[in-house]
């Protein structure tokens, strides 16, 4: 094989990998843009789930005859969890691919950075699984979100802790917008609500290979509960090492998102699962919309596992945007935004999706139902997990 041939082959491979989905339909399709972390340092597992959900969303829309009679295609871009890469992706989506809406965001930093550009360029964004306040709190017309923000999330574990009459709480949080925001919000709710919890907050770097020093400090503090605010690998490492130092299973731990709801939890932790609870936004006990049922069935068929929240939400974003375009009868950004602000839409959940022009972080924000789930037996499915606490709306 000649060098040129080789280089061409390599270039072709690279291109194939970098542009996961290529628009192939000729007749003026409607393009939905997706910006998700598909390579590190992004949360790639979540990025892949978002990609799955978005792709099924496009499948659903095309099966139903497209949007305004036009085919739907996706342009999926990789943010790698980096702000500048996400911003570049947004510019490319709007100027080159003519995307009419952009969603899939997982990293708050990327979402916030993109919104700064989007407020000038006009194409609306939807935070799929971004938690930081500023994603919506800046009240930009183009900024929407379908994810639990810090206040209700922190309120969920604070409520769970109060329900169990625990007093001493250790927060182990990674040094990201997500970790810092949630740690502060928890402390704030404790102070503002005069809840009287004794809180120990320890931050750690998300690339850490060893949480032993931090966990030994936690052990010395003798907490009743631990809030695990790690994302991806550190979340799992913390569960492993909390078992090593003997904190788990006696001291209860809650993880800040639904990682343990993924089927891999049992493979990863085997016998060391006791004492772990998790914040969840979806349980198979949750009531689904008709669309959600279609999705759950297809997802199970295609990936041979029950659907998880990240994928559900990405699917939900795609169909909600589609409904907004149908309502506005146009892909004009202003018309779409007005439709989103005033309409009520059907996502994956039986709870209707609305984006009221509310105060603070609740601006343009739809929050899924929040709960704390706890497994009660080994190898249990999420559907059978105990609902330990539900946040009242």
């Amino acid at each position: 094989m000649g060098r040129r041939t080789l280089m061409a082959a390599v270039a072709a491979m690279t291109a194939h990998v970098a542009f996961v989905s290529t628009p192939i339909l000729a007749q003026d399709p409607i393009v939905l843009g997706v910006i998700a972390p598909l390579s590190p340092p992004g949360e790639t597992a979540l990025g892949q789930l978002v990609k799955r959900g978005a792709e099924l969303g496009a499948d659903y829309l095309n099966e139903k005859g497209g949007i305004l009679g036009r085919k739907v295609t996706l342009s999926i871009q990789d943010s790698a969890g980096k702000n500048e890469q996400g911003v570049a992706a947004y510019r490319r989506l709007v100027t080159q691919d003519k995307a009419v809406a952009v969603f899939g965001f997982v990293h708050s930093g990327v979402n916030i950075a993109v919104n700064e550009v989007a407020k000038e360029m006009g194409v609306p964004t939807m935070g799929t699984q971004t938690g930081a306040g500023d994603v919506t709190a800046k009240k930009y017309p183009i900024a929407f979100r379908t994810h639990a923000v810090d206040p209700p999330r922190a309120a969920t574990w604070v409520g769970w802790i109060k329900k169990n009459n625990w007093k001493r709480v250790a927060i182990l949080a990674e040094t990201t917008d997500f970790g810092i925001g949630l740690a502060k919000e928890t402390e704030k709710q404790n102070k503002d609500g005069n809840l009287g919890l004794e809180i120990q907050t320890i931050m750690f770097d998300r690339t850490t290979t060893d949480l032993l020093p931090q966990l030994l400090q936690v052990k010395a503090f003798k907490p009743d509960a631990i809030v695990n605010i790690g994302v991806g690998q550190p979340l799992e490492l913390m569960i492993t090492q909390a078992n090593t130092v003997g904190l788990l299973p006696d001291v209860k731990m809650v993880t800040s998102y639904d990682a343990p709801a993924r089927p891999q939890f049992w493979q990863i932790h085997g016998d060391k699962w006791k004492g772990v609870s998790f914040i969840a936004f979806y349980s198979p006990k949750s009531e689904l919309s008709e669309l959600g049922k279609w999705f759950a069935k297809k997802y199970q068929e295609k990936f041979n596992e029950p659907p998880v929240y990240g994928a559900l939400n990405a699917f939900g974003n795609a169909v909600v945007f589609a409904q907004a375009i149908e309502k506005a009868k146009s892909t004009d950004p202003k018309a779409m935004i007005e439709a989103l602000e005033t309409g009520s839409f059907t996502g994956w959940s039986a709870v209707p999706v609305t984006f009221p022009k509310a105060e603070g972080v609740l601006w343009h924000n739809w929050s899924p139902p929040l709960m704390v789930l706890t497994y009660t037996a080994k190898d249990q499915s999420v559907g059978d997990a105990e609902v330990s606490y539900t946040l009242d709306k």
Binding site: S39, A45, F204, L212, Q233, E236, I268
Partner: protein, 298 residues
Amino acid sequence: MMYTTELLIQTVISGLMVGVLYALMALGITFIYSIVKTINWAMGEFYMIGSYIQFVAVHFLLGPNYWWLAVIISTAGTFLAGYIIEPILIKPMYARPMQRRDDYATVVTIALLLLLRSLAVAIGGPNQYRPETNLPIIWLGPLPQEGARVAASFCAVVALGLFWLVIKKTWVGLALRATAQNRVAAQTSGVDVLRLDATAFAIGVAMAGLAGALLAPLFMVFPTNGAVATVKGFEIIVIGGLGSIPGALIGGLLLGLVESLGTSFISSPYQNAYGFLLVILVLIVKPNGLFGEKVREA
């Protein structure tokens, strides 16, 4: 927090334990560079391959009792992958005259990185896996350590010892040392450097594969799990000097120590910062790394 001698000793031990594994990664990068004169940006993906083989071997075939056999299989498997891939992707760089070799190597290894990651997503999905381990918790004084972590460090030390033996005591080692020093002279002495390239590449990536296999029970198995190890590897290269074997070893231990001490005694959120601080300090004092030779411009 109490600053006791005991805590200091424990911190040093746990720093050194992580350090030998860092050193393994860095040694792989630097060793490939010293022979093939190519920086392999896909190093983390060979770490990933090693971890996947380890998972499959332990979970489906051997069971946790034979983790050590699985480690040998994973290392051999990554070695083989490297030995097959090198002649296809890297060799064309030397097989004929070419300008901008560095660019070629960069493009090719980054393409390889993307390809391998996508392959992992396609085969294993985005999920995280973990090979089972039944190694008991080992107490180093009052400090509990996962058995898998202690085993990983121990095996890494054994592997480094084996590497030293191969390099110092065998004919292939002699040929590798000669080629590292002067490629053209080695060639004119009759050494088949193109074949040696494949061997060196395979040995280098096998080190990454070994690290991946050993760390799989702790840091899990998923398509992008090699990224952190790669970053640490390159940090060490900057500290120790590109192409220097002692640099990789000492740099690895130093980085492990600095991170561990900084996290325990200064402040835990900035684990990465201590490493980078070390990198910057080294760059100021010795711009080519602690053991680096002056870089020749090609």
